[in-house]
Protein backbone atom coordinates (compact mmCIF):
# COMPACT_ATOMS: atom_id res chain seq x y z
CA UNK A 1 0.00 0.00 0.00
CA UNK A 2 0.98 3.60 -0.52
CA UNK A 3 2.73 5.76 2.05
CA UNK A 4 1.66 5.41 5.66
CA UNK A 5 -0.10 8.11 7.60
CA UNK A 6 1.96 11.06 8.54
CA UNK A 7 2.28 11.54 12.26
CA UNK A 8 -0.34 13.68 13.88
CA UNK A 9 1.14 16.83 15.28
CA UNK A 10 0.87 17.33 19.03
CA UNK A 11 -0.77 20.67 18.45
CA UNK A 12 -3.66 19.17 16.49
CA UNK A 13 -4.16 16.52 19.14
CA UNK A 14 -4.03 18.99 21.97
CA UNK A 15 -6.52 21.22 20.20
CA UNK A 16 -9.08 18.43 19.87
CA UNK A 17 -8.52 17.40 23.47
CA UNK A 18 -8.85 20.91 24.87
CA UNK A 19 -11.99 21.66 22.84
CA UNK A 20 -13.46 18.48 24.21
CA UNK A 21 -12.56 19.36 27.76
CA UNK A 22 -14.06 22.80 27.33
CA UNK A 23 -17.32 21.35 26.11
CA UNK A 24 -17.47 18.91 29.02
CA UNK A 25 -16.26 21.45 31.53
CA UNK A 26 -18.27 20.42 34.57
CA UNK A 27 -17.23 16.79 34.60
CA UNK A 28 -13.64 17.62 33.78
CA UNK A 29 -13.59 20.06 36.71
CA UNK A 30 -14.88 17.33 39.00
CA UNK A 31 -12.16 15.00 37.79
CA UNK A 32 -9.51 17.65 38.27
CA UNK A 33 -10.98 18.29 41.72
CA UNK A 34 -10.44 14.64 42.49
CA UNK A 35 -6.79 14.68 41.54
CA UNK A 36 -6.42 17.93 43.40
CA UNK A 37 -7.80 16.49 46.64
CA UNK A 38 -5.59 13.44 46.50
CA UNK A 39 -2.47 15.43 45.75
CA UNK A 40 -3.26 18.14 48.29
CA UNK A 41 -3.62 15.50 50.98
CA UNK A 42 -0.36 13.75 50.17
CA UNK A 43 1.73 16.86 49.73
CA UNK A 44 0.40 18.69 52.78
CA UNK A 45 1.07 15.61 54.90
CA UNK A 46 4.61 15.53 53.57
CA UNK A 47 5.17 19.21 54.27
CA UNK A 48 3.86 18.85 57.80
CA UNK A 49 5.99 15.78 58.38
CA UNK A 50 8.87 18.22 58.83
CA UNK A 51 8.43 18.18 62.59
CA UNK A 52 9.46 14.54 62.92
CA UNK A 53 11.77 14.28 59.89
CA UNK A 54 15.39 14.60 61.05
CA UNK A 55 16.37 18.23 60.72
CA UNK A 56 18.42 19.40 57.82
CA UNK A 57 21.85 20.53 58.87
CA UNK A 58 23.34 23.24 56.74
CA UNK A 59 22.33 22.69 53.18
CA UNK A 60 22.16 18.92 53.32
CA UNK A 61 18.85 17.89 51.83
CA UNK A 62 16.65 15.43 53.72
CA UNK A 63 13.46 14.26 52.00
CA UNK A 64 10.19 14.63 53.88
CA UNK A 65 8.80 11.19 54.55
CA UNK A 66 5.45 9.87 55.64
CA UNK A 67 5.00 7.49 58.54
CA UNK A 68 3.21 4.15 58.16
CA UNK A 69 -0.15 5.49 59.19
CA UNK A 70 0.06 8.36 56.70
CA UNK A 71 1.11 6.03 53.94
CA UNK A 72 -1.94 3.92 54.64
CA UNK A 73 -4.26 6.95 54.49
CA UNK A 74 -2.55 8.02 51.27
CA UNK A 75 -3.03 4.68 49.59
CA UNK A 76 -6.70 4.57 50.49
CA UNK A 77 -7.44 8.11 49.35
CA UNK A 78 -5.51 7.73 46.10
CA UNK A 79 -7.38 4.51 45.40
CA UNK A 80 -10.67 6.35 45.84
CA UNK A 81 -9.36 9.03 43.45
CA UNK A 82 -8.43 6.47 40.82
CA UNK A 83 -11.85 4.81 41.01
CA UNK A 84 -13.65 8.13 40.65
CA UNK A 85 -11.54 9.26 37.71
CA UNK A 86 -11.97 5.85 36.10
CA UNK A 87 -15.72 6.17 36.41
CA UNK A 88 -15.73 9.66 35.00
CA UNK A 89 -13.59 8.63 32.03
CA UNK A 90 -15.86 5.69 31.26
CA UNK A 91 -18.86 8.03 31.23
CA UNK A 92 -16.94 10.29 28.89
CA UNK A 93 -16.33 7.38 26.50
CA UNK A 94 -20.03 6.51 26.50
CA UNK A 95 -21.00 10.12 25.86
CA UNK A 96 -18.62 10.27 22.94
CA UNK A 97 -19.47 6.83 21.59
CA UNK A 98 -20.89 8.10 18.30
CA UNK A 99 -18.24 10.77 17.93
CA UNK A 100 -15.41 8.27 18.38
CA UNK A 101 -17.11 5.86 15.99
CA UNK A 102 -17.36 8.63 13.42
CA UNK A 103 -13.70 9.51 13.79
CA UNK A 104 -12.74 5.88 13.33
CA UNK A 105 -14.99 5.69 10.30
CA UNK A 106 -13.22 8.70 8.81
CA UNK A 107 -9.91 6.91 9.16
CA UNK A 108 -8.69 7.61 12.70
CA UNK A 109 -6.55 4.73 13.87
CA UNK A 110 -7.03 3.05 17.25
CA UNK A 111 -3.79 4.57 18.44
CA UNK A 112 -5.09 8.08 17.74
CA UNK A 113 -8.16 7.52 19.93
CA UNK A 114 -5.87 6.15 22.64
CA UNK A 115 -3.70 9.23 22.38
CA UNK A 116 -6.68 11.56 22.70
CA UNK A 117 -7.66 10.02 26.04
CA UNK A 118 -4.12 9.73 27.36
CA UNK A 119 -3.59 13.40 26.51
CA UNK A 120 -6.75 14.32 28.36
CA UNK A 121 -5.52 12.35 31.38
CA UNK A 122 -2.18 14.14 31.28
CA UNK A 123 -3.81 17.56 31.13
CA UNK A 124 -6.13 16.66 34.01
CA UNK A 125 -3.21 15.22 36.00
CA UNK A 126 -1.08 18.28 35.41
CA UNK A 127 -3.73 20.79 36.44
CA UNK A 128 -4.78 18.67 39.42
CA UNK A 129 -1.18 18.27 40.53
CA UNK A 130 -0.44 21.96 40.21
CA UNK A 131 -3.53 22.94 42.18
CA UNK A 132 -2.97 20.24 44.79
CA UNK A 133 0.60 21.26 45.46
CA UNK A 134 -0.15 25.00 45.48
CA UNK A 135 -3.04 24.69 47.90
CA UNK A 136 -1.03 22.38 50.15
CA UNK A 137 1.81 24.88 50.12
CA UNK A 138 -0.43 27.80 51.04
CA UNK A 139 -2.43 26.02 53.74
CA UNK A 140 0.53 24.46 55.49
CA UNK A 141 2.55 27.67 55.43
CA UNK A 142 1.11 29.23 58.65
CA UNK A 143 1.53 26.00 60.57
CA UNK A 144 5.09 25.54 59.47
CA UNK A 145 5.91 29.18 60.21
CA UNK A 146 4.41 28.78 63.66
CA UNK A 147 6.34 25.60 64.31
CA UNK A 148 9.79 26.46 63.08
CA UNK A 149 9.64 30.18 62.43
CA UNK A 150 10.67 29.84 58.81
CA UNK A 151 9.63 28.04 55.63
CA UNK A 152 11.06 24.64 54.73
CA UNK A 153 14.24 24.60 52.64
CA UNK A 154 13.63 25.04 48.92
CA UNK A 155 14.83 21.53 48.13
CA UNK A 156 12.15 20.11 50.36
CA UNK A 157 9.47 21.96 48.44
CA UNK A 158 10.94 20.91 45.13
CA UNK A 159 11.00 17.34 46.35
CA UNK A 160 7.34 17.45 47.41
CA UNK A 161 6.40 19.21 44.19
CA UNK A 162 7.95 16.62 41.93
CA UNK A 163 6.31 13.85 43.94
CA UNK A 164 2.98 15.67 43.72
CA UNK A 165 3.17 15.86 39.95
CA UNK A 166 4.27 12.26 39.72
CA UNK A 167 1.35 11.12 41.87
CA UNK A 168 -1.14 13.32 39.97
CA UNK A 169 -0.07 12.12 36.52
CA UNK A 170 0.17 8.53 37.68
CA UNK A 171 -3.31 8.23 39.21
CA UNK A 172 -4.83 10.04 36.26
CA UNK A 173 -3.07 7.74 33.79
CA UNK A 174 -3.83 4.53 35.68
CA UNK A 175 -7.51 5.46 35.81
CA UNK A 176 -7.57 6.22 32.07
CA UNK A 177 -5.83 3.17 30.63
CA UNK A 178 -8.88 0.94 30.50
CA UNK A 179 -11.42 3.57 29.33
CA UNK A 180 -8.99 4.72 26.62
CA UNK A 181 -8.43 1.17 25.44
CA UNK A 182 -12.17 0.57 25.46
CA UNK A 183 -12.70 3.72 23.38
CA UNK A 184 -10.05 2.75 20.85
CA UNK A 185 -11.81 -0.57 20.25
CA UNK A 186 -15.23 0.94 19.52
CA UNK A 187 -16.66 -0.62 16.40
CA UNK A 188 -17.74 2.15 14.00
CA UNK A 189 -20.70 0.12 12.72
CA UNK A 190 -22.16 -0.21 16.21
CA UNK A 191 -21.43 3.41 17.00
CA UNK A 192 -23.11 4.68 13.84
CA UNK A 193 -26.19 2.54 14.50
CA UNK A 194 -26.33 3.98 18.03
CA UNK A 195 -29.11 6.55 18.41
CA UNK A 196 -28.92 9.16 21.16
Amino acid sequence: MESAFAKLSLKDLLHIVLENMRKRRSRILLTIGNVFLGVALVSSMMMLSYSYTPKTTGNVFKPLNLNDYQIWVTIISLTVCVITIFNSMLISVTERYKEIGTMKCLGAKDSLILQLFIFEALVIGFIGGLLGFSIAFITTMPMILLQIGTLLPLQNYLYVMSLSFAVALLISLIATIYPAYHASKINPVDALRFEV
Partner: protein, 239 residues
Protein backbone atom coordinates in the same frame (compact mmCIF):
# COMPACT_ATOMS: atom_id res chain seq x y z
CA UNK B 1 -9.76 -6.74 -13.30
CA UNK B 2 -11.62 -4.14 -15.25
CA UNK B 3 -10.54 -0.75 -14.02
CA UNK B 4 -13.70 1.11 -14.99
CA UNK B 5 -15.27 0.35 -11.68
CA UNK B 6 -14.91 2.52 -8.63
CA UNK B 7 -16.54 -0.28 -6.65
CA UNK B 8 -17.34 -3.87 -7.41
CA UNK B 9 -18.99 -6.45 -5.18
CA UNK B 10 -19.05 -10.16 -5.91
CA UNK B 11 -21.65 -12.39 -4.29
CA UNK B 12 -21.66 -10.17 -1.24
CA UNK B 13 -23.56 -11.55 1.73
CA UNK B 14 -24.00 -10.63 5.38
CA UNK B 15 -25.93 -12.81 7.78
CA UNK B 16 -26.78 -11.98 11.35
CA UNK B 17 -27.91 -14.51 13.89
CA UNK B 18 -30.31 -13.00 16.33
CA UNK B 19 -31.79 -15.16 19.07
CA UNK B 20 -31.38 -18.36 17.08
CA UNK B 21 -32.87 -17.06 13.82
CA UNK B 22 -30.68 -16.04 10.93
CA UNK B 23 -31.26 -12.70 9.22
CA UNK B 24 -29.93 -12.41 5.71
CA UNK B 25 -29.25 -8.67 5.64
CA UNK B 26 -27.42 -9.09 2.30
CA UNK B 27 -27.72 -12.21 0.24
CA UNK B 28 -25.52 -12.38 -2.82
CA UNK B 29 -25.18 -8.84 -4.15
CA UNK B 30 -23.27 -8.42 -7.42
CA UNK B 31 -22.80 -4.78 -8.11
CA UNK B 32 -20.54 -2.61 -10.23
CA UNK B 33 -20.33 1.10 -9.74
CA UNK B 34 -18.76 3.01 -12.61
CA UNK B 35 -16.46 5.91 -12.10
CA UNK B 36 -18.39 9.15 -12.21
CA UNK B 37 -21.69 7.40 -11.73
CA UNK B 38 -24.52 8.52 -9.49
CA UNK B 39 -26.00 5.30 -8.18
CA UNK B 40 -29.00 5.12 -5.91
CA UNK B 41 -29.91 2.15 -3.78
CA UNK B 42 -33.61 2.12 -3.05
CA UNK B 43 -35.47 -0.18 -0.75
CA UNK B 44 -37.80 -0.25 2.22
CA UNK B 45 -36.53 -0.04 5.76
CA UNK B 46 -34.68 -3.23 6.66
CA UNK B 47 -33.88 -4.06 3.03
CA UNK B 48 -30.16 -4.06 3.73
CA UNK B 49 -29.12 -0.61 2.49
CA UNK B 50 -27.11 0.35 5.56
CA UNK B 51 -25.49 -3.08 5.64
CA UNK B 52 -24.40 -2.62 2.02
CA UNK B 53 -23.10 0.87 2.89
CA UNK B 54 -21.05 -0.61 5.75
CA UNK B 55 -19.62 -3.38 3.58
CA UNK B 56 -18.60 -1.10 0.72
CA UNK B 57 -17.31 1.42 3.22
CA UNK B 58 -14.96 -1.14 4.72
CA UNK B 59 -16.61 -0.74 8.11
CA UNK B 60 -17.77 -4.34 8.52
CA UNK B 61 -16.73 -7.76 7.30
CA UNK B 62 -19.02 -9.74 4.99
CA UNK B 63 -20.13 -13.29 5.76
CA UNK B 64 -19.39 -14.22 2.16
CA UNK B 65 -18.22 -12.52 -1.01
CA UNK B 66 -15.85 -9.73 -1.85
CA UNK B 67 -15.68 -5.98 -2.18
CA UNK B 68 -13.23 -4.21 -4.48
CA UNK B 69 -12.58 -0.50 -4.14
CA UNK B 70 -10.46 0.87 -6.97
CA UNK B 71 -9.65 -2.78 -7.73
CA UNK B 72 -8.34 -3.35 -4.21
CA UNK B 73 -9.80 -6.43 -2.52
CA UNK B 74 -10.56 -4.91 0.85
CA UNK B 75 -10.76 -8.27 2.65
CA UNK B 76 -7.01 -8.50 2.13
CA UNK B 77 -6.30 -5.31 4.06
CA UNK B 78 -5.22 -5.21 7.70
CA UNK B 79 -6.72 -2.77 10.19
CA UNK B 80 -4.11 -0.15 9.43
CA UNK B 81 -4.60 -0.32 5.66
CA UNK B 82 -8.35 -0.28 6.09
CA UNK B 83 -8.09 2.93 8.11
CA UNK B 84 -5.98 4.31 5.29
CA UNK B 85 -8.56 3.29 2.70
CA UNK B 86 -11.42 4.81 4.67
CA UNK B 87 -9.44 7.97 5.07
CA UNK B 88 -8.27 8.43 1.48
CA UNK B 89 -10.56 6.55 -0.86
CA UNK B 90 -14.00 6.90 0.63
CA UNK B 91 -16.10 9.84 1.76
CA UNK B 92 -18.99 9.14 4.12
CA UNK B 93 -22.27 10.97 4.53
CA UNK B 94 -24.77 9.89 7.17
CA UNK B 95 -28.42 10.45 7.89
CA UNK B 96 -27.57 12.01 11.24
CA UNK B 97 -24.69 14.15 9.84
CA UNK B 98 -22.30 12.94 12.55
CA UNK B 99 -20.19 16.04 12.80
CA UNK B 100 -17.85 16.33 15.77
CA UNK B 101 -19.86 18.62 18.07
CA UNK B 102 -16.90 20.31 19.76
CA UNK B 103 -15.24 21.35 16.50
CA UNK B 104 -16.20 24.19 14.17
CA UNK B 105 -17.36 23.65 10.59
CA UNK B 106 -13.92 24.23 9.13
CA UNK B 107 -12.26 22.03 11.77
CA UNK B 108 -14.72 19.25 10.99
CA UNK B 109 -13.79 19.46 7.33
CA UNK B 110 -10.08 19.41 8.12
CA UNK B 111 -10.41 16.32 10.34
CA UNK B 112 -9.96 13.69 7.58
CA UNK B 113 -7.01 15.72 6.32
CA UNK B 114 -5.52 15.75 9.82
CA UNK B 115 -5.84 11.97 9.83
CA UNK B 116 -4.16 11.88 6.43
CA UNK B 117 -1.33 14.08 7.65
CA UNK B 118 -1.96 17.08 5.40
CA UNK B 119 0.00 20.14 6.57
CA UNK B 120 -2.05 22.75 8.39
CA UNK B 121 -1.85 25.54 5.84
CA UNK B 122 -2.91 23.34 2.98
CA UNK B 123 -5.77 21.73 4.82
CA UNK B 124 -7.21 24.99 6.14
CA UNK B 125 -7.12 26.43 2.64
CA UNK B 126 -8.73 23.34 1.15
CA UNK B 127 -11.40 23.18 3.86
CA UNK B 128 -12.27 26.83 3.27
CA UNK B 129 -12.62 26.21 -0.47
CA UNK B 130 -14.79 23.15 0.08
CA UNK B 131 -17.07 25.00 2.48
CA UNK B 132 -17.38 27.86 0.00
CA UNK B 133 -18.24 25.33 -2.67
CA UNK B 134 -21.10 23.93 -0.59
CA UNK B 135 -22.32 27.46 0.12
CA UNK B 136 -21.08 27.85 3.67
CA UNK B 137 -18.29 30.35 3.11
CA UNK B 138 -19.79 32.54 5.82
CA UNK B 139 -20.16 29.78 8.40
CA UNK B 140 -16.58 28.57 8.71
CA UNK B 141 -16.27 29.06 12.44
CA UNK B 142 -19.71 27.93 13.51
CA UNK B 143 -20.12 24.85 15.66
CA UNK B 144 -22.56 22.18 14.44
CA UNK B 145 -25.06 23.18 17.14
CA UNK B 146 -25.17 26.65 15.59
CA UNK B 147 -26.07 25.29 12.15
CA UNK B 148 -29.35 24.04 10.70
CA UNK B 149 -29.74 20.42 9.65
CA UNK B 150 -29.24 21.27 5.99
CA UNK B 151 -26.13 23.30 6.78
CA UNK B 152 -24.73 20.47 8.89
CA UNK B 153 -25.23 18.07 6.02
CA UNK B 154 -23.40 20.50 3.74
CA UNK B 155 -20.48 20.50 6.14
CA UNK B 156 -20.60 16.69 6.07
CA UNK B 157 -20.47 16.77 2.26
CA UNK B 158 -17.47 19.07 2.36
CA UNK B 159 -15.85 16.75 4.91
CA UNK B 160 -16.53 13.74 2.69
CA UNK B 161 -14.70 15.47 -0.16
CA UNK B 162 -11.69 16.48 1.90
CA UNK B 163 -9.21 13.81 0.80
CA UNK B 164 -10.38 13.57 -2.84
CA UNK B 165 -11.99 10.15 -2.38
CA UNK B 166 -12.73 7.74 -5.23
CA UNK B 167 -16.30 7.49 -4.10
CA UNK B 168 -18.76 9.12 -1.76
CA UNK B 169 -21.07 6.83 0.17
CA UNK B 170 -24.24 8.37 1.50
CA UNK B 171 -26.71 6.57 3.76
CA UNK B 172 -30.10 8.30 3.64
CA UNK B 173 -28.54 11.77 3.45
CA UNK B 174 -31.95 13.45 3.35
CA UNK B 175 -33.60 11.24 5.95
CA UNK B 176 -33.44 13.84 8.72
CA UNK B 177 -34.22 16.87 6.55
CA UNK B 178 -37.45 18.52 5.48
CA UNK B 179 -38.56 18.37 1.86
CA UNK B 180 -36.91 21.55 0.55
CA UNK B 181 -33.67 21.16 2.47
CA UNK B 182 -33.49 17.56 1.32
CA UNK B 183 -33.87 18.73 -2.25
CA UNK B 184 -31.06 21.24 -1.79
CA UNK B 185 -28.75 18.50 -0.53
CA UNK B 186 -29.66 16.25 -3.45
CA UNK B 187 -29.02 19.07 -5.91
CA UNK B 188 -25.67 19.73 -4.27
CA UNK B 189 -24.65 16.08 -4.51
CA UNK B 190 -25.73 16.05 -8.15
CA UNK B 191 -23.69 19.18 -8.79
CA UNK B 192 -20.59 17.58 -7.25
CA UNK B 193 -21.23 14.52 -9.37
CA UNK B 194 -21.62 16.44 -12.63
CA UNK B 195 -19.06 19.17 -12.17
CA UNK B 196 -16.34 17.22 -10.43
CA UNK B 197 -17.11 13.76 -11.73
CA UNK B 198 -17.34 12.35 -8.24
CA UNK B 199 -18.79 8.85 -7.96
CA UNK B 200 -21.77 8.72 -5.64
CA UNK B 201 -23.43 5.78 -3.94
CA UNK B 202 -26.59 6.85 -2.23
CA UNK B 203 -28.82 4.60 -0.13
CA UNK B 204 -32.25 6.11 0.24
CA UNK B 205 -35.97 5.69 0.15
CA UNK B 206 -36.40 9.26 -1.00
CA UNK B 207 -37.90 9.32 -4.49
CA UNK B 208 -36.47 12.77 -5.20
CA UNK B 209 -33.04 11.19 -5.44
CA UNK B 210 -34.23 8.90 -8.19
CA UNK B 211 -34.55 11.89 -10.51
CA UNK B 212 -30.86 12.76 -10.41
CA UNK B 213 -29.46 9.20 -10.52
CA UNK B 214 -27.76 7.52 -13.44
CA UNK B 215 -28.91 4.17 -12.19
CA UNK B 216 -31.23 2.97 -9.47
CA UNK B 217 -30.98 -0.42 -7.85
CA UNK B 218 -33.90 -1.66 -5.80
CA UNK B 219 -33.07 -4.11 -3.08
CA UNK B 220 -35.36 -6.10 -0.85
CA UNK B 221 -34.47 -8.67 1.80
CA UNK B 222 -30.82 -8.37 0.90
CA UNK B 223 -31.27 -9.16 -2.80
CA UNK B 224 -31.30 -6.99 -5.91
CA UNK B 225 -34.91 -6.75 -6.97
CA UNK B 226 -34.54 -4.66 -10.12
CA UNK B 227 -32.26 -2.18 -11.81
CA UNK B 228 -33.28 0.92 -13.68
CA UNK B 229 -30.98 2.95 -15.88
CA UNK B 230 -31.96 6.60 -16.10
CA UNK B 231 -29.07 8.18 -17.88
CA UNK B 232 -25.54 7.58 -18.88
CA UNK B 233 -22.59 8.79 -16.95
CA UNK B 234 -21.82 12.18 -18.41
CA UNK B 235 -18.13 12.36 -17.85
CA UNK B 236 -15.56 9.92 -16.63
CA UNK B 237 -13.41 11.10 -13.80
CA UNK B 238 -9.70 11.35 -14.39
CA UNK B 239 -7.71 9.24 -11.97
Amino acid sequence: MSSDYAVETIDLAKYYTLGGTMIKALDGINLQIFRGEYLSIMGPSGAGKTTLFNMIGGLDKPTRGKVFIDNIDISKLDAYELAWLRCRKIGYIFQTFNLIPVLTAIENVTLPMIFAGTPKKIRMEKARKLLEMVGLGDRLNHKPSELSGGQQQRVAIARALANNPSIILADEPTGNLDLNTGLEIITLLKKMNEEQGITIFCATHDYKIVEVSNRIIWIRDGKVEKTEIRGYVKRKREV
